[in-house]
């Protein structure tokens, strides 16, 4: 997580969680993956492997 503290031009809040609830801390990239997953589901994308890898990515610390 130390690498995530580096200032990135893509992340306005480096090292800080965007949402924090019930002990869960969601950072910018977590929210991005969740948004992509939701969008793909709403669009009816049938690529199961893509969903699987995005979920794996979400659980990667």
């Amino acid at each position: 997580m130390d690498n995530f503290n580096e200032i990135s031009r893509y992340n306005p809040f480096p090292g800080k969680p965007i949402i924090e609830f019930a002990g869960f801390k969601l950072y910018l990239d977590d929210l991005l993956i969740l948004g992509i997953l939701f969008f793909l589901y709403k669009e009816g994308v049938k690529d199961n492997l893509l969903f699987l890898f995005l979920v794996f990515l979400l659980f990667t610390s």
């Binding site: 997580m1 992340n11 992509i36 794996f56 990667t60």
Partner: protein, 140 residues
């Protein structure tokens, strides 16, 4: 064409071309008619007396360690298509993962590369299924 084995110089040239990745470019330039002719020539050659062919192969294997007489041109074409598929940049799923990469933390960036490669490899199953269907139903 009784003997379809290549001499040592040709074999070495082929090896260098494969190592340099040039063979892919050469194969892509071969017109389909030539591929069909070559394939039919090899099929005719294999329909000759099997004893003489076996004897020739044994003799050639003792002289040359590399014998390409068993490699069908169709196999080479399949290998080419498989390699193209694996390196394809047209896979929208892997393109999506690569587009997310700049926004991810370092540990996830490495995973993205792996997952994108796996997605490309998964496309190979489509090719294998197509080949399997062609073999089972050659008349379509």
């Amino acid at each position: 064409m009784d003997n379809i084995n290549f001499d040592e110089n040709t074999v070495n040239k082929l090896k260098n071309m494969m190592q340099n990745g040039e063979l892919n470019d050469v194969i892509s330039k071969i017109p389909p008619e030539m591929v069909q002719n070559f394939s039919s020539m090899m099929n005719n050659n294999s329909s000759n007396s099997s004893d003489t062919v076996a004897d020739e192969k044994v003799a050639n294997n003792t002289n040359n360690n590399f014998d390409v007489s068993n490699i069908d041109i169709n196999t080479i074409m399949k290998m080419k298509s498989i390699m193209d598929k694996m390196n394809s940049k047209d896979n929208p799923s892997s393109n999506l993962l690569y587009s997310l990469k700049p926004y991810m933390r370092e540990s996830r960036k490495e995973k993205i590369d792996q997952y994108a490669q796996l997605l490309n490899i998964a496309n190979l199953t489509e090719i294998l299924n197509e080949d399997k269907n062609k073999e089972q139903h050659p008349n379509g």
